[in-house]
């Protein structure tokens, strides 16, 4: 079944590495929530200026879009820690214990690989924007390396959380896919 429970959190079992990663991911989650709230407030301010004061707005729309993107990417590790990324565990549920363990190690490893790819090329993309001084083609003309920074940061932190998840499963601190033993 698609699991999306609100109570589950990746256990850390008092392991210092897992606790450190959990703390980092949680801080990332606070940042992400803060950016979403900031987006709400800025949008309301924009509407106030436009419809109540009849003024014109320059930077708000763009800022809000970049805030939501950054909130998404930087929120990734926290949502991973909360087991909030929906998945379908039909195959794991059908497997015996050992095969389930192997599948979990495999899926986590492949996830780490793809997130690593995103981190590598995401860093490249950010670095390009930074080196060449790209700016958005709007009136505000924001320096694009600032919003792009969320790509390597978000995927970097997600990579860290996934490595911690793999470590926890290998060490037996967490069960494969967070499922109870069948």
């Amino acid at each position: 079944m698609a699991v999306q429970s609100s109570a589950a959190v990746a256990p850390t079992g008092n392991n210092p590495f897992l606790r450190l990663v959990a703390a980092i991911s949680t801080v990332a989650g606070w940042c992400s929530a803060g950016m979403i709230v900031a987006a709400v407030v800025i949008t309301c301010q924009m509407i106030f200026i436009r419809f109540v004061l009849n003024g014109s707005t320059v930077w708000q729309t763009e800022a809000v879009v970049y805030l939501v993107i950054a909130a998404t990417l930087i929120g990734l590790p926290y949502v991973q820690r909360l087991r909030g990324h929906v998945n379908v565990d039909l195959i794991p549920l059908a497997l015996p214990k050992r095969a389930r363990f192997a599948l979990c190690v495999l899926t986590l490893s492949v996830s780490i690989l793809i997130v690593g790819v995103m981190l590598y090329y995401g860093y490249d993309y950010w670095h390009f924007a930074w080196e060449r001084g790209w700016r958005s083609d709007t009136v505000w003309g924001v320096r694009l390396w600032i919003p792009y920074l969320s790509i390597p940061v978000g995927f970097g932190l997600l990579l860290l959380q996934l490595v911690a998840d793999l470590f926890a499963v290998l060490k037996g601190i967490d069960t494969p896919f967070g499922l109870e033993d069948a």
Partner: protein, 438 residues
């Protein structure tokens, strides 16, 4: 490799990967990355972060976290219980008033909260014990709440519709309006079935019950009106041309948070954090799937799969209703296993050209697709609502809940058939309010 064969291979691999327990978004990235490396070479991976970022670079997406905050703020309060009580007090004279008010409360609350499991929990906690106490059959008590909870993805404001609008570049305002009449039609069908099956079970006497004084009726109103006014205000602002969906949603989110704090006294920072945490979690989850699905559809079109499938269907020369039937069947099966957002994002880029070539209206199709997704929400193995009901009424067996929900699934299928016969049910209101167009 022939693009069609490649398409079949992609479909098979995607299903395997998604069922393996990996998260949906990462699964889509894995499949996209794998096929891009295999058929386009390593260098094609370079573009992935840029496409992912570009997919999120859209002001319309802002409405998703905003509507989710709005819903989470409402769901964290007693608003569900109040709404239920208010409807019950006002509808006691109506035959079967209890089940009617339960379904009405489900429809309103799920539209406001946008969350199907939250609706089942909020309304079901009060409604199911009350219905059973008054002698309604267990199957009706459980089934009506399970089905009622699914209405939120059809009745505006609906995150599912926003996602469809973004994936297919159709007007979110039109999509919202298109869901209104079919949504009310479904509520009507659900009510009709509930009353009929209660009457048939020989407990017809329970259909008339209790009475309240006018004082009791009026004193509950102040507690439910604020949220209802916000929802109406948001919709008015959108259709009055005052602001875009994203902007009104932001105002709605702020107002709902304020009301939750002021009227429902949600001023403990820890409680407030729970609302923010849950909205962040859900928003990030959905937005990441949207971004990853963007990479996925880039992979499909850069390997010419999307185009070839559309061309192939064009050459098949089947009756368009047979085609629509096949598409519905496909969506239904996909909805049994995958969350609605994922189905829409993966299927829309492939299905939309087919749909429009066959002469179907994409707005109308959104409604049909959404009802399909609703069915998935109350069907095994994923049907989250069934498990929520099982959680709040543990002494009703999962089997009874399942059997009780089946007639409501039939109502939804009937609604799809009616929509096929009378497409105006979905398209009339958007055309009437926003002018015929597109």
């Amino acid at each position: 490799m022939d693009p069609l064969l490649l398409g079949a291979l992609v479909a098979a691999v995607t299903i395997m990967v998604l069922f393996s327990g990996v998260s949906v978004a990462l699964g889509l990235l894995i499949v996209s990355g794998g096929f891009l490396i295999a058929f386009d070479g390593m260098r094609s991976l370079e573009l992935m972060p840029e496409i992912l970022f570009g997919k999120l670079d859209n002001f319309a997406l802002l409405s998703i976290p905003m509507f989710i905050i709005m819903g989470a703020a409402i769901a964290s309060t007693r608003a569900g219980a109040d709404l239920y009580e208010a409807l019950e007090r006002w509808l006691t004279r109506v035959p079967g008033g209890l089940v009617v008010s339960n379904l009405g409360a489900c429809a309103l609350f799920s539209a406001m909260s946008g969350s199907s499991p939250a609706t089942c929990a909020a309304i079901g906690k009060m409604g199911i014990p009350e219905m059973r106490k008054r002698g309604y059959p267990d199957a009706v008590a459980a089934g009506s709440i399970a089905a009622g909870g699914t209405l939120g993805i059809l009745i505006p404001p609906s995150v599912t519709m926003i996602v469809y609008g973004i994936a297919t570049e159709t007007s979110i305002g039109r999509l919202f309006l298109a869901g209104v009449i079919p949504g009310m039609m479904l509520v009507g069908l659900f009510m009709a079935w509930s009353l009929y099956s209660t009457w048939r079970s020989g407990n017809a006497s329970v259909l008339s019950a209790g009475s309240y004084t006018w004082r009791e009726r009026f004193e509950i109103l102040p507690r439910v009106l604020p949220f209802l006014l916000i929802i109406l205000g948001v919709l008015y602002a959108m259709y009055g041309g005052i602001a875009t969906p994203s902007e009104t949603a932001a105002v709605g989110a702020l107002l709902c948070l304020v009301i939750a704090v002021v009227i429902y006294k949600l001023w403990n920072p820890a409680d407030l954090w729970v609302v923010l945490r849950d909205s962040t979690k859900e928003s990030v989850m959905i937005l990441f799937i949207i971004a990853a699905a963007g990479v996925f559809s880039y992979m499909l079109s850069s390997l010419f799969i999307t185009q070839s499938i559309a061309e192939w269907i064009g050459t098949l020369d089947v009756n368009r209703w047979v085609l629509m039937g096949a598409i519905n069947l496909f969506l239904l099966v996909a909805g049994f296993f995958l969350p609605p957002v994922a189905v829409i994002l993966m299927a829309a880029p492939i299905l939309l050209p087919i749909i429009t070539t066959a002469g179907f209206d994409p707005i109308w199709f959104a409604v049909v697709l959404t009802i399909n997704m609703e069915i998935g929400l109350i069907s095994p193995p994923v049907g989250l609502n069934l498990y929520v009901i099982n959680g709040i009424a543990p002494d009703i067996s999962l089997r009874t809940i399942l059997v009780g929900s089946l007639p409501y699934v039939a109502c939804m299928v009937l609604a799809i058939v009616l929509l096929c016969l009378f497409p105006g049910l979905a398209t009339w209101l958007p055309d009437a309010v926003m002018g015929p167009g597109r």
